[in-house]
């Protein structure tokens, strides 16, 4: 019940927001804000209700949906889902808060945003492959319009690029999904989309699903689908464009949640359901060794070097996301406790930190109306609080110990190092370059002489601080005591086919 209401309350909210009379658009904002508080409240409830010591999937709701194909409405959560649901629910009110200044079609905007929230929460709960896919696609549509209508000057290009890329991925994913379905006969004639059932079938030797060749192909299909979302090189070029054009709050959701949908899918489907495929891509490729790890390292190095070359503040943060998601891939590729725990922690931490970063870029963009890093200078003197929070976010992102970014990265690396030394050592280049681009940005924007253009620039206001504080506190708390998060999903990690 908890999950169902969490999924559909935003949807109801989306309709209510649309019904607000045109002359009361302020009310729409408050309604949307209150609506997003409900899933947050429920998520906190879920956090306390969820028993992390149990390996069982909890809060299960299961009914028949499309009988002809044995498609069921099956939702439930494990620790990994709870973690990401909490993150999604937390970002709901924050993003509404960050959208306060939007004037154009605010009602439609908010209702699309609420629809997006339904898709995201639903995705993290879905336990039926078909339902999983439906929610996956459900996020696509609102996102397309949110970028395409409320975005920057090149919004059309960015939106369509985002749409086509994701669609390309999801077509492959769909094919893989159908192939899995066709091979999933439990009894003769009875096939299933049920993820837990599929997971156990895939590990039953002799079953069609357990066939390594089949798994390799299915793995590839799902993998590309998720790789576009993560994004993994070379499927990443939609990301910088989408981020640059999207409005602040949408960038936040994009970086914090949508990218996690990719890695979540990798864990749920590729890792758990297709172990033989995972085997192949982590050590079955002869001299290529661990292909997945190579992709992770490429992401890390490529993403950070590209970030170093950017002069657009938002693009820089976007490329840094690519680099940081590389650590998730690296940790997953290690397939051991430290690596996978690190990867999941990194998912959560990147969600929190990148959300902060995009919110912060939005703050300065709202004042200066541009994002050229070289066009600022000396803002530290005029905006000390803003500078302080930005420094915190940058430091967290570059992996300063004591803040959350470090723990995920360090665990990923520790796990990875025990499996593939050379690649892990290579990936540490990203740590140095990561520090370089953030510090260089810090210098160009905040240090040095004040750019006279910004003599009168306004300090960050209370509303903006309020959107940042929960994330900043989380960054510090999880950095000091990562147990809060690890305890949640420890059993999900142990339950995976580790090596």
């Amino acid at each position: 019940m908890l999950l169902t209401s969490m999924i559909f309350i935003p949807l109801v909210g989306a309709i209510i927001v649309l019904l607000v009379p045109r002359d009361r658009e302020d009310a729409a904002k408050w309604i949307a804000f209150l609506v997003t508080l409900i899933p947050l409240f429920l998520a906190v409830l879920l956090y306390f209700q969820y028993d992390p010591t149990s390996v069982e999937i909890q809060e299960v709701v299961e009914t028949s949906w499309i009988k002809a194909f044995n498609i069921r409405y099956h939702t439930g959560v494990d620790g990994l889902s709870v973690t990401l649901i909490l993150l999604t629910a937390l970002l709901g009110p924050i993003c509404v808060g960050a959208s306060w200044k939007i004037e154009k079609g605010i009602k439609v905007y908010l209702s699309l945003f609420l629809l997006l929230e339904t898709g995201m929460i639903g995705f993290f709960c879905a336990l039926d492959l078909f339902l999983f896919y439906v929610f996956f696609e459900l996020t696509l549509l609102p996102m397309y319009f949110l970028i395409g209508v409320w975005g920057g000057p090149r919004r059309e290009y960015a939106a369509i690029k985002f749409f086509l890329y994701t669609l390309f991925g999801s077509v492959l994913m769909l094919i893989a999904m159908i192939a899995v379905y066709l091979n999933s006969s439990v009894d003769p004639g009875l096939r299933t989309f049920d993820i837990p059932t599929l997971i156990s079938l895939a590990q039953t030797s002799g079953h069609a699903l357990a066939d390594p060749t089949f798994q390799i192909w299915a793995f590839l299909g799902f993998f590309i689908g998720f790789a576009v979302k993560v994004p993994i090189f070379p499927f990443h070029t939609w990301l910088p464009d989408a981020h640059v054009e999207a409005p602040t709050a949408i960038s936040v959701v994009l970086a914090a949640i949508l990218l996690k949908m990719g890695t979540y899918g990798l864990v749920r489907i590729n890792f758990a359901m297709l172990p033989a495929g995972m085997d192949f891509f982590t050590n079955g490729l002869g001299r290529w060794g661990n292909a997945l790890a190579i992709l992770g390292v490429v992401n890390i190095i490529y993403g950070s070097l590209c970030a170093l070359a950017q002069t657009d503040f938002k693009k820089l943060v976007a490329y840094s996301s690519i680099g940081h998601m590389g650590f998730v891939i690296l940790g997953l590729a290690a397939r051991n406790e430290a690596g996978v725990t690190g990867a999941i922690l990194q998912m959560l931490n990147h969600g929190v930190i990148s959300a902060m970063l995009f919110l912060l870029v939005g703050v300065v963009y709202d004042r200066a109306h541009h994002r050229d890093i070289n066009g600022f200078g000396g803002l530290g003197a005029k905006m000390p609080i803003y500078t302080g929070i930005t420094t915190l976010a940058f430091m967290a992102s570059l992996g300063l110990p004591g803040l959350s970014g470090f723990v995920g990265e360090a665990l990923s690396l520790l796990g990875a190092y025990s499996k593939f030394q050379l690649l892990t050592i290579l990936s540490t280049i990203g740590i140095v370059v990561g520090a370089a681009y953030f510090l260089w940005t810090l210098q160009r924007v905040f240090l040095g002489d004040l750019n006279p253009k910004y003599e009168a620039i306004e300090e960050i206001n209370m509303r903006e601080i309020a959107t940042l504080i929960p994330l900043g506190v989380l960054t510090i708390v999880l950095g000091i005591w990562p147990h809060f998060a690890i305890e949640m999903f420890r059993n999900s990690v142990v339950g995976l086919p580790l090596q």
Partner: protein, 718 residues
């Protein structure tokens, strides 16, 4: 009880910083932050002192390293466990005492020095955060904890170097400091990963600690262990500004002078030495030699650069680099005690030198309060101009004769100078430097290795050079005739809050305090190669004897063998070179028997190399930094034009194919498709419709339609 005290020591400075952070977030100015921070630090000092008394009471307990207390699981997954705990032994207690003393004194000094700065409260908050991080680093019982503290002090160093961030030089310096040390830290982290993969723990002492498990290694693992040791030491190379990652420390002098004293002289930069000392048990012969060479090269290399500097703070900065090299050399030569002993004595006399130079700068600075508005030519037409990028009040070419104006500063600095130069018997620096030299020579004589003889020689020359440049500083600053009358007139002795810390530190530069504490209560742990390689089995005892040889305290070394001939030789030579250095310095800069300029002109090439710091900065900026940025631009270009270009190309090609296929159909079919499948889009009204205008977009949408069609077909198939 120990745990409670450690908690108090950590919480006091942290609370002080937190108070500042929260009040700033709420938009309030924490106007009494100076008192809050200072008070917090004094409480921490009191606790550290009580802890130290604990050690004094039970030397037999705390001498033995490895009393881990209060361990808790920081990260715990089934087979991976990363516990955090406190480590308390004599080394910890001495380090705590050194840090809290220097930090408290720097806090007090800053009340006067930073007075009137627009960001006065923030300065103290940063000092608190730094103190917390440094203290955490010291009490952590495992490598990960040390690493956390290690990076946090790096952050504080960054924030404090860039405290006056309006100056471009400061903004550059803080970035450089952070990045350079990070290069070393990455090496350290790789070393940590190596150890963790082998031993599944970061904990140092105890039954399942690294130092215990390392004994189970085979002799064939020695190479591996050497590499791990060297990699971990990379962290120390960065943090302690050892060659070749030393370039950030002189630039770090852009920070306020109290910061230079606390972070960049006494404590943070010594953390590298502390780390090397903590990792002492796993150092093999190879990694020891590596450390010794890094230390030895740094010691002499930095000392030579210091001779030609005009900026009073830079002289001290290079001096710090050089002295840190000494400490590393000691540890590399196998004398843990000598390294830590020199760390302690150096912390006090170098903090004193920096605070003294701060006092001089404070006296000469016309408008200390406003750093924003650059130079003040309008008021003082005779105000000296900046030469070679050195602020006039730090330029020793503008000083001279200041001892008449600032007697306390002069006398206290003179004591510190005598100490660092190794003037015998009455000054602590003599004893600790002698330990280092003695240990190196002893190692050389025992192993018969030419390496350690070379290192001894390098250290000896560096000792002479140290005396030379330090007395040059004293002569140029305090004696002779004032070279800038205007500044001289203006100069004045500093206020009490600044002078008192100087006097206290001067007292601490006398040997009684240090010798009484450090030498007696630190016991050298064994090293791994002793267990692994039987032929070295007796070395441990010998090093221990070298380390704890003590002239005045006969009880401490009765158990060991007596004072070795190596030490006597080393002591004799070190007195000789120190005397020579001072004499040369006096001939050049006091009696002016010889002219330094003539010499500089004669050996113009050498002078040029020294003046340009061996061109290492040029190499880094011109080659490494530039190559990285060019590399990044290439990657950025590839991404923008090649990868994304390919994507767009694919889109265009598919676009044409689909357009061609679609063209085969009747217009009505197309209309139907577009309107029905993409109809959702259309309903969003005119604004949205514009998304699909333009030829390319139209085609793209056709592709989209095709794909959706494909999905429908698939669905029907299933």
């Amino acid at each position: 009880m120990i745990v409670t005290f450690i908690f108090i020591i950590l919480i006091c400075p942290l609370a002080s910083f937190t108070f500042f952070a929260i009040s700033s977030l709420m938009g309030r100015k924490s106007s009494r932050q100076d008192l809050i921070s200072t008070f917090a630090m004094l409480i921490a000092f009191a606790c550290a002192f009580l802890l130290f008394m604990q050690v004094l009471g039970n030397p037999s307990i705390y001498k033995v390293a490895g009393a881990s207390t209060h361990t808790t699981d920081w990260i715990q997954i089934d087979n991976v466990s990363l516990p955090m705990g406190f480590l308390f032994d004599s080394v910890t207690s001495i380090m705590l005492l050194v840090v809290t003393i220097v930090s408290s004194l720097v806090h007090i000094f800053s009340i006067g020095y930073m007075h009137g700065d627009p960001r006065y409260p923030r300065f103290f908050a940063y000092l608190s955060l730094f103190s917390f991080s440094m203290l955490f680093l010291i009490v952590a019982d495992n490598l990960l904890g040390i690493y956390i503290g290690w990076e946090l002090v790096g952050l504080c160093s960054y924030l404090l170097i860039g405290f006056w961030f309006e100056k471009d030089s400061a903004a550059n310096a803080c970035k450089k400091a952070f990045l350079t040390t990070r290069v070393g830290d990455v090496g350290m982290f790789i070393g940590m990963m190596m150890l963790f993969t082998k031993f599944h723990t970061f904990t140092l002492f105890g039954e399942n600690g690294i130092f215990e498990l390392v004994n189970n290694l085979e002799s064939s693992d020695l190479t591996w262990l050497s590499i791990a040791g060297i990699l971990i030491f990379c962290g120390a190379i960065g943090k302690s500004a050892q060659f070749p990652l030393h370039t950030w420390l002189p630039d770090a002098m852009e920070g306020p002078t109290p910061v230079s004293a606390l972070i960049h002289a006494a404590t943070m930069v010594a953390a590298g030495v502390y780390l090397a000392a903590r990792m002492f048990p796993i150092l093999t012969d190879v990694s020891s030699l590596f450390i010794a060479y890094v230390g030895g090269i740094t010691a002499i290399f930095a000392a030579t650069i210091a001779i030609v500097r005009w900026d009073i703070k830079r002289v001290l900065a290079y001096s710090t680099v050089s002295q840190l090299g000494y400490m590393m050399l000691a540890i590399g030569a196998g004398s843990y005690v000598a390294g830590l002993f020199h760390l302690t004595t150096h912390a006090f006399f170098k903090a004193l030198l920096f605070l003294g130079s701060g006092s001089v700068i404070h006296a000469l600075h016309v408008h200390h309060n406003d750093h924003d508005d650059g130079h003040h030519d309008d008021e003082h037409s005779d105000q000296p101009v900046e030469r070679d990028g050195i602020p006039p009040e730090q330029d020793m070419r503008n000083m001279g004769g200041l001892r008449h104006k600032m007697p306390v500063t002069f006398w206290t600095m003179l004591i510190a100078t005598l100490s660092i130069s190794g003037v015998p018997f009455f000054f602590s620096g003599f004893w600790s430097k002698d330990e280092v030299l003695g240990a190196t020579l002893e190692r050389a004589m025992e192993s018969g290795s030419a390496h350690y003889y070379i290192l001894f020689f390098m250290a000896l020359v560096a000792a002479g050079v140290t005396a030379l440049y330090m007395f040059r500083l004293i002569f140029l600053t305090f004696t002779g005739q004032p070279r800038d009358q205007g500044m001289y007139e203006h100069a004045h002795e500093s206020p009490k809050s600044m002078i008192i810390p100087l006097i206290i530190l001067a007292v601490l530069s006398f040997p009684i305090v240090n010798k009484w504490s450090v030498k007696k209560y630190i016991e050298q742990p064994g090293q791994v190669h002793n267990h692994l390689a039987p032929e070295h089995a007796n070395q441990f005892v010998l090093y221990a004897a070298a380390g704890s040889a003590d002239h005045h305290d006969s009880t401490s070394h009765t158990a060991h063998k007596g004072h070795s001939p190596a030490h006597n030789i080393a002591m004799g030579l070190s007195i000789f070179v120190a005397g020579l250095g001072i004499l040369l310095s006096a001939l050049f800069y006091h009696w002016k028997t010889f002219s330094a300029e003539t010499i500089a002109n004669k050996f113009r090439g050498v002078h040029r190399i020294l003046w340009n710091k061996y061109f290492i900065d040029e190499f880094y900026d011109g080659i490494i930094v530039r190559a990285t940025i060019i590399g990044a631009k290439i990657f950025g270009g590839i991404d923008k034009y090649l990868v994304d270009g390919l994507v767009n190309l694919v889109a265009i090609i598919v676009n044409y194919i689909v357009a061609f296929l679609v063209g085969l159909f009747d217009n009505k079919v197309v209309d139907f498709l577009v309107n029905s499948v993409a109809g959702v889009t259309w309903k969003f009204g005119g604004r949205v419709r514009r998304v699909q205008t333009g030829v390319i977009q139209n085609y793209l949408f056709v592709i989209l339609t095709g794909v959706i069609l494909l999905i429908i077909i698939f669905r029907l198939l299933v």
